[in-house]
């Protein structure tokens, strides 16, 4: 972990074994995080829909 602004890889991401170093690995990690964020929004939407459905019952 370098405590200043840098564009190189080598930072741990969630797990000790997940340390994207190459540009390809960093891009892949970004895509995974992007889809994780989309999944979180999807679950949030499903929760809201379910609450609405249950409140109408």
């Amino acid at each position: 972990m370098i405590p200043y602004l840098h564009t190189s890889g080598g930072d741990n991401l969630l797990f000790e074994s997940w340390t994207p170093l190459s540009p390809d690995a960093i891009a892949g990690a970004s895509v995974i995080l992007f889809f994780l964020a989309i999944l979180e929004r999807l679950v949030n939407g499903v929760r809201g829909r379910l609450e609405g459905y249950w409140s109408l019952k």
Binding site: P3, L5, L14, L36, L50
Partner: protein
């Protein structure tokens, strides 16, 4: 002495029972001494009823979402810890502005405060007074972006209705669908 307490307790218990009866039965309108009638509104349901078939999936979905949110927060924090304080502050402002009073943004603020007071040799992000000065603009933005509901005036204590409206607004934003119970 205990007798006094017991009778007081008994009286308050009676009062609660009467109050419950009055609020359950909408048609009961007790007369006041001056002849006017007291209309007792039924209690509003703010928590959905306990139904196991609803509450189990509700809990599972919440657990799933909380796990993802927590993992995303950790990812953001680990990336931010290797950035300059300016980039950290700007990213936090962006995150807080976008997550709209969500619990994940609150934990980010806690992290900012912890970083500000920690003695790990890293420069502090922002001071606590700066954090406080960021909270009001966030509410102001929320007020401007959403529908124009009143904001608490000045640094004084907000009135009960203002507090309730702010709570409902924040709740409706972070929990879509829940507002049907209000």
């Amino acid at each position: 002495m205990t007798e006094v307490f017991r009778s007081a307790l008994h009286r308050s218990a009676e009062h609660v029972v009467q109050d419950d009866n009055a609020s359950c039965n909408k048609l009961e309108t007790p007369s006041l001494s001056d002849g006017s009638r007291l209309v007792v509104a039924p209690r509003k349901r703010i928590v959905p009823p306990f139904i196991l078939a609803h509450d189990l999936p509700r809990g599972i979905f919440y657990m799933f979402q909380a796990t993802i949110t927590y993992a995303l927060m950790l990812a953001v924090m680990s990336v931010l810890s290797s950035c300059s304080p300016l980039v950290q502050t700007l990213t936090l402002l962006f995150c807080v502005g976008h997550s709209k009073l969500d619990t994940s943004s609150l934990s980010l603020w806690v992290w900012v405060l912890e970083r500000s007071f920690s003695e790990d040799g890293l420069p502090p992000l922002i001071t606590s007074s700066e954090v406080l000065s960021f909270v009001y603009p966030q509410l102001f933005l929320l007020h401007k972006l959403g529908d124009s509901r009143p904001l608490p005036r000045g640094p004084g204590k907000p009135t009960q209705t203002e507090e309730k409206k702010l709570f409902e607004l924040a709740h409706a934003v972070s929990h879509p669908g829940f507002d049907r119970y209000f």
